[in-house]
């Protein structure tokens, strides 16, 4: 990545920040009003213990149901986002790294008026955690669907049991040390651990939770109409003054059509547009709208199909790496809405290093490697979806890659599939026709590495580069610094293997109406913690 | 033109006929050529008089009738001429004025009576509507008057008929209804375009009686378009024979029937089965009527004429008196010297 490019990104961020700061400085935060966000997807399953959709979890987590530990979502600058107290005001980790003790906030009330206690944490965990896996009986409120979605968490963390020590202390007992454990509470992938009121579960039943979500967050759940909207309202008895909601109501509109989202913004019917059309950003800025973007755990990846005969030759794989112009894609094709991929680690990961660089773009070298391997004209089929969550603009990007590959001496073809069909096929095992298989992903927590690299999670076609044990070993280190070094070494190993390639990192731009003040662009999937966001003049 | 004057004086003694048509020319302008359906005809009809218009299919009879009502369908167009109805030239009227003329001044009865009725309204409603509009009556009165007129055309089972839709009536019943409605208009001139040709013989005969009865009662002037010599014999005071858009012969019915002058009329009469035979319809003559796109020069009948002389194909004959009150369009008829000379030429 060039320095110029980096400066460019920072400069845009800085301008936005200065502009926002300038306005904010002149004004006192104002209460009231309805803040409206146009969401890019159906909110789907809302139950925090089940939902796997980033697009719904970002509104449920932190806003309605809060986790024990949070990331500082107001500090845009520091990456990774620092861990800060959530419903737990502090925590201790035992010497052996196997017992986590959380000291809970006091005086916290659920939206239904009941008090939040240590028992509630236990109740919430046992709703998700299948205790039969550790030889005990399940709690009566154990929920199979939640276990299906969230079981992996407790599995990877090696949870043995949870106990309430007293009203405000809870212990998590792990069967082995698990280094990313605290960060895990902040992550919104499948079944995030937002605390909901046990009383509400008892009252409405397990499958009544999403229609009657009762949490402790700064917003109360009021109403949700599938395919249409969700309405939240400020919770007046919120426990933490600094995070109290400023607006009266937060409305999330379900608008899968990007043109419709932007039309709503222009018409003043929405203040926040998630996932705008990158091509229209300059125009929107011209019209006075504000763009907010940040560093995300996102990686737009390519996996090399292990069954592709040509890839048996390391030189052919490396030729692909040198052929693809990641920087050009990020800056030219995507207009600076992405950063070039430089590591298999997320940019927000603690293990990521600023100086990390992927195999350099060098078409001449790619061609030389191909010639040397006698593989000029090798046919490559690049598989991706037509659209999809986090996929950015797959067709356009695939064409860019196709051109790069052809320039370097490959023969390249593209295969596009509808998103849901594509992920299904992806997980069922790569189509033998596919050579390069695209997917977008990434978490801040280092267990992201398990996703593609742990043989237990790999679909057929994805190469086992032999780092599974190393990842597990790193997870179980008790010294965070040592663990980060280990993760980094694994990423380097992945890079050297040539079987995986990060193409770009999305900066996930969000467009704001000029009325919006104090919108923090969060460096994680939970885009937008809007409790402290308010509506000023515009 | 002389013809009408003679005729009127003969029958009524009045000076002015109800209808006076002069030089009526109606063209259908098709993309490839122009059909001169009516090509400069003169026609007079007096009060109480029935003129039968006869001629081969395509000779322009209907076009003449429709022209008088100014109902020529597109792409047809009245090109020139004069249609005086009680002294008013209909071609000078605008659409609104024309609307007021149709009905009280002139109306028409068509060949296919069922098609001439609105399929979606009960007969009673349709007759009542005409009564209300043409006689300016209230609904109730109109209703009564409608029934009276249906009785006048000898409709049996008036209740059933008024409640029925057109598809529930026989052809004869439909035509009675049409005549009743025409009657309601009390027109000075009634044009009947083959009013009975779609019906069977008995019904036809009854209807002609009805028509005669009502037109006589109100002393209507009638133009009766027909193919049927039997009809002409029964109904006509005068006969006008049309050929290729022109009138080729005209005269009192009995004269024309007994001693046709024009070779075309002659041919027509000869081809008619004699009285007593079943079919009395005009038969097609040998040969084809002229192609409207390429009218022959000279006499239009020349290509089919048995009496043709060379001059016939060069100069078109005028419609000239051949006897008192009789006219024919032929070089060989009347006292024209040209005709004699031509006949004198050997060969």
């Amino acid at each position: 990545m060039s320095l110029l490019n980096k400066l460019g990104i920072t400069a845009i961020g800085a301008v936005a920040a200065v502009a926002l700061a300038g306005i904010a400085a002149a004004e006192e935060p104002r209460e009231g009003g309805t803040l409206i966000a146009a969401n890019e997807a159906e909110l789907g399953e809302l139950d925090p213990h089940i939902t796997c959709a980033t697009s719904s979890a970002r509104w449920v987590m932190n806003h309605i149901a809060e986790p024990l530990v949070q990331q500082d979502m107001t500090d845009e600058g520091s990456i990774p986002p620092p861990l800060i107290p959530g419903l737990a005001q502090s925590w201790d980790v035992s010497e052996d790294g196997k017992v986590y003790t959380f000291h809970l906030q006091q005086g916290v009330k659920f939206h239904d008026g009941t008090d939040f206690t240590a028992d509630d944490v236990v109740y919430n965990v046992y709703r998700q955690f299948d205790q039969t896996t550790v030889g005990r009986e399940n709690a009566p409120h154990f929920y199979e669907a939640a276990a299906a979605a969230a079981g992996w968490r407790w599995d990877i963390a090696g949870l043995d049991f949870v106990e309430a020590v007293d009203d405000h202390t809870v212990n998590f007992h792990l069967s082995h040390p698990f280094n990313p454990f605290l960060r895990m509470f902040t992550q919104t992938d499948c079944g995030p651990m937002g605390i909901i009121s046990p009383e509400s579960v008892e009252k409405y039943g397990n499958d009544g939770v999403q229609a009657n979500m009762i949490g402790t967050g700064p917003f109360k759940f009021i109403e949700r109409v599938p395919g249409d909207y969700m309405v939240l309202e400020r919770f007046d008895d919120y426990w933490k003054e600094e995070w109290r909601a400023l607006v009266d109501r937060l409305v999330i509109l379900v608008m899968p059509d990007v043109a419709a989202r932007q039309a709503a913004l222009r018409a003043g019917e929405a203040h926040i547009v998630i996932a705008p059309d990158p091509d229209s950003l300059p125009k929107l800025v011209e019209e006075g709208f504000v763009i907010s973007k940040g560093t995300m755990p996102h990686i737009w990846t390519v996996s090399f199909n292990e069954h592709e005969a040509a890839f048996a030759d390391e030189r052919v794989r490396l030729a692909v790496h040198h052929a693809i112009d990641r920087e050009g894609m990020a800056n030219q094709l995507l207009d600076g809405t992405a950063l070039p991929g430089e590591s298999w680690l997320s940019r927000t990961s603690e293990a990521f290093k600023e100086e990390d660089r992927w195999h350099a773009y060098d078409p001449a070298k790619a061609r030389a490697l191909l010639e040397e391997a006698g593989a000029l004209g090798t046919k490559i089929v690049f598989a991706t979806s037509t659209s999809g969550s986090g996929q950015m603009q797959p067709a356009k990007m695939a064409e860019w890659i196709q051109r790069n590959l052809i320039d370097a001496g490959f023969d390249a073809e593209i295969q596009l599939m509808e998103w849901n069909a594509y992920i299904a096929k992806f997980f069922e095992g790569f189509d033998p026709e596919w050579s390069l298989v695209q997917m977008s992903w990434g978490w801040t927590a280092a267990y992201w590495l398990d996703m593609f690299l742990n043989p237990g999670n790999q679909p057929d076609g994805m190469m086992d580069v032999g780092v599974g044990d190393a990842i597990t070993a790193a997870h179980q280190m008790t010294d965070p610094a040592a663990a980060n070094e280990a993760y980094h070494a694994i990423a380097e190993q992945v890079k050297a293997s040539g079987w995986f390639m990060p193409i770009v990192n999305d900066t996930a731009p969000i467009v704001l109406s000029p009325c919006v003040r104090d919108y923090p662009h969060v460096s994680d999937w939970q885009t937008g913690f809007v409790a402290r966001t308010w509506l000023g003049d515009c | 033109m002389a013809s009408s004057v003679g005729n009127e004086e003969e029958k009524n003694g009045t000076a002015e006929p109800v209808l006076r048509v002069r030089g009526l020319t109606t063209h259908f302008e098709l993309s490839s050529h122009t059909v001169r359906a009516v090509d400069g005809i003169d026609l007079d009809v007096a009060r109480g008089q029935t003129v039968c218009l006869v001629g081969e299919s395509g000779s322009g009879k209907s076009a003449t009738g429709l022209s008088i009502l100014r109902l020529v369908p597109s792409p047809g167009r009245i090109v020139s001429g004069e249609i005086s109805l009680n002294g008013v030239n209909l071609l000078d009227l605008d659409a609104k004025e024309m609307e007021r003329v149709r009905g009280p001044e002139v109306t028409m009865v068509f060949q296919h009576p069922r098609a001439a009725l609105d399929p979606y309204f009960r007969i009673g409603d349709q007759v009542t509507e005409t009564a209300a509009i043409q006689m300016g009556l209230s609904r109730r009165q109109a209703h009564e008057t409608a029934r009276e007129h249906l009785a006048a055309v000898h409709v049996s089972q008036i209740d059933r008929i008024t409640r029925a839709y057109p598809h529930q009536l026989s052809g004869g019943e439909c035509q009675r209804v049409m005549i009743a409605m025409a009657l309601l208009c009390r027109p000075k001139l009634l044009i009947a375009d083959e009013p009975t040709s779609a019906l069977d013989a008995k019904v036809q005969s009854d209807l002609l009686d009805v028509l005669r009865e009502v037109t006589e009662e109100y002393e209507m002037a009638v133009i009766l378009i027909t193919h049927d010599i039997g009809v002409v014999e029964r109904m006509a005071d005068r006969v006008a024979v049309m050929y290729a858009g022109r009138i080729v012969e005209e005269g009192a019915a009995r004269d024309v029937l007994s001693s046709p002058q024009h070779p075309y009329t002659l041919g027509l009469m000869n081809s008619v089965p004699k009285v007593g035979q079943r079919s009395r319809r005009l038969q097609q003559l040998d040969g084809q009527p002229p192609d409207p796109a390429a009218m022959p020069p000279g006499c239009r009948f020349a290509p089919r004429c048995a009496e043709r002389v060379p001059h016939c194909s060069e100069v078109e004959p005028e419609l000239r008196p051949v006897a008192p009150g009789r006219f024919a369009r032929c070089h060989l008829r009347g006292d024209a010297p040209m005709a004699a000379e031509e006949r004198a030429v050997p060969g």
């Binding site: 979605a149 992996w152 599938p226 419709a260 | 068509f110 009725l117 979606y120």
Partner: protein, 318 residues
């Protein structure tokens, strides 16, 4: 009449049943299922997928799943959406109401534009109005609904900024009914566009044909005034065909609404189905398609019955 209705109803029920079988088979053929869709980032975790499948009952053979669904349906139960934890019937009912608002709006636009346009064009055949009107109609008929909708959004919402271009109402508006009406304008026009062209063309053609019918000539010959001829006689004559075409078009408006609802984020049944298909939410998709199909069939049946009963000749035959 009763026999006719019974026959048509049985046929319609068979068709609908066939449609559900077909859709069920299609879902089996599509890659992915509700479990994969719900699990998102954990879809690669075989244990999670197996658990979720068994929770959703997707681990049973497909034909059993279908018969369970059919059995429930026969008892009036359309099933449950696992994604929303709501009965499918409730989801559909909520959305159907919104769709009906859109449908009524579109029908109003279709009638109030299509019919007058056709009438005026026919009465002034070959006039400038007729030529331009019919030209526009032909072009409009060729433009995909999607493009037409975007064009309207661009013109009225972006350039002129006079009408809202998305959703059914605004959270800013205090008067909900008024807000819905304003939001209805563009989607209704978009949905109605194709049907307007069809209705206008049919109106024009059938009116022209009727105006040239012999009985029209007879009416003129009897001096029936032009107003009466057109508004009473000609209109009554084209009424059955108009009712028939309108009925069919209302059926098509349902399908057109699916696109419109997506473009304009109108929270109707079309979008519900669209979304359910991509999330492999089979009960919702099946239920939605069944309801739309039933409405489509019903609209057609109603149109047929209405047309027949408006025609004295066919009324007898029934």
């Amino acid at each position: 009449m009763v026999r006719f209705l019974a026959k048509r109803t049985v046929l319609a029920l068979f068709t609908l049943w066939g449609v559900t079988v077909l859709i069920f088979i299609l879902f089996q053929a599509l890659p992915g299922d509700a479990a994969i869709s719900l699990l998102g980032s954990q879809a690669g975790n075989p244990e999670a997928v197996a658990r979720m499948r068994s929770y959703l009952g997707l681990d049973r053979p497909a034909y059993i799943q279908y018969f369970v669904w059919l059995g429930d349906l026969l008892q009036g139960d359309l099933g449950q959406s696992a994604r929303f934890d709501q009965p499918v019937s409730k989801l559909i009912l909520d959305k159907a109401l919104n769709s009906i608002i859109l449908l009524v709006g579109s029908a109003v636009v279709m009638f109030s534009v299509g019919i007058p346009l056709g009438i005026v064009a026919a009465l002034r055949e070959r006039s400038l109005f007729d030529r331009i009107g019919m030209g526009v109609i032909i072009v409009l008929g060729m433009v995909p609904v999607f493009w037409f909708g975007l064009l309207l959004i661009y013109l009225f919402a972006l350039v002129l900024d006079v009408l809202p271009a998305s959703r059914m109402y605004s959270f800013h508006d205090s008067n909900r009914t008024l807000s819905i009406l304003v939001h209805l304008v563009l989607p209704a026009i978009t949905t109605a566009a194709i049907s307007i062209t069809i209705l206008a063309r049919v109106t024009r053609a059938s009116l022209l044909e009727t105006l040239e019918a012999p009985f029209m000539q007879a009416l003129i010959a009897r001096g029936i005034p032009v107003r009466r001829r057109i508004w009473r006689h000609a209109m009554r004559n084209i009424l059955p065909i108009m009712v028939n075409v309108s009925g069919l078009q209302i059926g098509w408006l349902f399908s057109g609404a699916i696109f419109t609802e997506v473009i304009f984020s109108w929270p109707g049944i079309g979008r519900l189905i669209y979304d359910a298909v991509s999330a492999r939410d089979v009960p919702v998709a099946l239920g939605g398609i069944l309801v739309v199909g039933a409405l489509f069939v019903l609209a057609n049946l109603a149109a047929d019955v209405a047309t027949a009963s408006l025609d004295p000749r066919r009324r007898e035959a029934m």
